[in-house]
């Protein structure tokens, strides 16, 4: 425990030293936080006291905006429209929605199942928590920030538990995290280039297409592998690709003891880079990190998913500091989700000790494929925004949006059910075996 804590502390201090790196994309620009003090309907201006500064700024209401849309005396997030001119308001959102009991319960439940999932497959949760928070009324940036801030303590608890079970390869985790952070930088650069050329809609489309393609290709591969293993009741074998890559004796060779792999650093580095790039693009790096560690590096699903938790902790802590410095974390949401997910993540970690390797792959593949549907449902909307296809009917876009949201919930439910059933089955089997053994000894 002491060793682990010292290790974590060194890491956090180390992460604080670097300021220029963001995980999961940078906090938004053209956004300010503050409190509107008054609004003038005649001149169509509003005065706002910016957070952390003494001066008061006057902003102009955009065309079509009514005075009622300005929320007075409450902390708001204002996004500006730089194309319409300086100081023109594009959108005003209340930063902290009122916490009702229903919202509290919703956050607790989503947190619990999200935690269960990440304790089990090493990632997940983020893809469903952020949209869930947004649908409860949180602005997008606040949802991303609050999720990030809940992710690192959760991953810390989860990786500690799985480290105790001997599943975490610390060295592999550190190499992955270090390269992933560089990958995040590259990902952000790519995003910015796309944003400059094709604007917001183009960037949304790019993100969704990457998301859907990666999830379908990787998800389908993992699913076929898991099904093959479950049918034949075979022991999981190291993939052919990994075996071939392990034979390449290219300096520097790195040995990962827990994962039981000796491989050239030239192989692990790209896996980490892609994980980071994906994290910066779609905010869920684990969907490429875990399969990458399994099929390219050659670790078992058990070790890969446990190691991913360590990567998630390091990157999450990094990101939280960045988002916190931008002042966007709603600590109430963070802590409510944490209340559920700290139980879930430990339960998921316990669960991995009772199941076979392929169950982890099966859960991961199902989640990835259902989430792909969710994101895919958004693509027509983005295509229409770019005028690549005719505009969608209002009704159709409403249906597509609800498909997108509910498929996330289905993904969560399916994962929760598979994990619980596999765990109960494993526990009952274990108990029966133990009793049989005792009975044998007694005779």
């Amino acid at each position: 425990m002491k060793k682990f804590l010292t290790f974590l502390l060194t890491l956090i201090i180390g992460t604080l030293l670097v300021h220029t790196v963001y995980a999961g994309g940078p906090p938004p620009k053209n956004v300010m936080k503050g409190v509107f003090t008054q609004v003038d309907p005649v001149t169509r201006t509003a005065t706002i006291k910016i957070d952390g500064q003494d001066k008061i700024r006057t902003l102009i209401l955009a065309e079509g905006m009514t005075v009622d849309e300005i929320i007075l005396d409450k902390k708001v997030m204002v996004s500006l429209d730089p194309h319409a001119g300086p100081n023109v308001i594009k959108e005003v959102t209340q930063m902290f929605f009122d916490m009702t009991p229903t919202k509290v319960v919703a956050l607790l439940i989503v947190g619990l199942i999200g935690g269960l999932l990440s304790g089990f497959i090493g990632s997940g949760g983020a893809f469903v928590l952020t949209p869930a928070m947004m649908s409860l009324g949180a602005p997008g940036a606040v949802a991303v920030a609050s999720n990030m801030c809940h992710k690192f303590p959760k991953a810390m608890v989860g990786s500690y538990k799985r480290w105790k079970y001997g599943q975490v390869d610390v060295k592999l985790g550190l190499v992955m995290a270090a390269t992933a952070i560089i990958g995040v930088q590259i990902g952000i650069k790519v995003q910015n280039i796309i944003l400059d050329h094709w604007g917001n809609a183009g960037s949304n489309l790019y993100v969704s297409v990457v998301f859907v393609l990666v999830l379908i290709v990787v998800g389908a591969y993992v699913l076929t592998d898991a099904l093959k293993l479950s049918k034949g009741n075979l022991e999981a074998k190291t993939s052919k690709l990994a075996l071939r890559l392990q034979k390449i004796e290219l300096w520097p060779m790195v040995e990962f003891k827990v994962a039981n792999v000796r491989i050239s650093a030239w192989v692990t580095v790209p896996v980490g880079l892609f994980t980071g790039m994906l994290a910066a693009t779609i905010a869920v790096g684990g969907f490429i990190g875990v399969p990458g560690m399994i099929y390219v590096v050659g670790a078992s699903a058990m070790v890969a998913s446990a190691t991913e938790l360590l990567v998630a902790f390091i990157m999450g802590a990094w990101g939280s500091v960045q988002w916190g410095m931008a002042g966007l974390i709603d600590i109430r949401m963070t802590l409510l989700i944490l209340a559920g997910s700290l139980i879930g993540v430990q339960l998921g970690a316990i669960g991995t000790t009772y199941v076979k390797d392929y169950t982890i792959k099966l859960v991961m593949a199902s989640v990835m494929l259902i989430v792909a549907v969710s994101r895919g449902a958004k693509v027509p909307g983005y295509l229409a925004d770019l005028d690549l296809i005719p505009h969608l009917h209002h009704q159709l876009s409403v249906i597509l949006n609800s498909i997108s949201f509910w498929s996330l919930m289905v993904a969560l439910a399916v994962a929760g059910i598979i994990i619980s059933l596999a765990m109960i089955k494993g526990m009952l089997q274990d108990r029966a075996e133990k009793q049989a053994k005792l009975a044998n000894e007694a005779i």
Partner: protein, 112 residues
Amino acid sequence: MRQNDPYQPELSVQRTTRTSKSSSVSTTPSTSKATQTAFRKKRPVGKMVLFGAMSLGAYALLFSNEALVTNTFTLGGWHAALPVGTAFLFSFMHGAFASNFLDVLGLEAKKA
């Protein structure tokens, strides 16, 4: 002892020594068989209650000062230490509670 508890037999040998008046000593080994319940780990109910109360108290404290907390925590800059530190603190308290809670429920990792 609960009915479904696994049990293990215990064999103990007790030596009895008798000394008679004619100062001859006879020693007879005698055995007795007893059954006892197998070793059972104590469930950490006390710890769970302690950490649970701490965690609950911390949540109550934070949510009763909701407005103050949300405003100060989002001022940006060095204030980032506040939400990050709070998340850490809560994860230790609530994490310890959750761990003990699962132990009390009897959900433990499989022992190899």
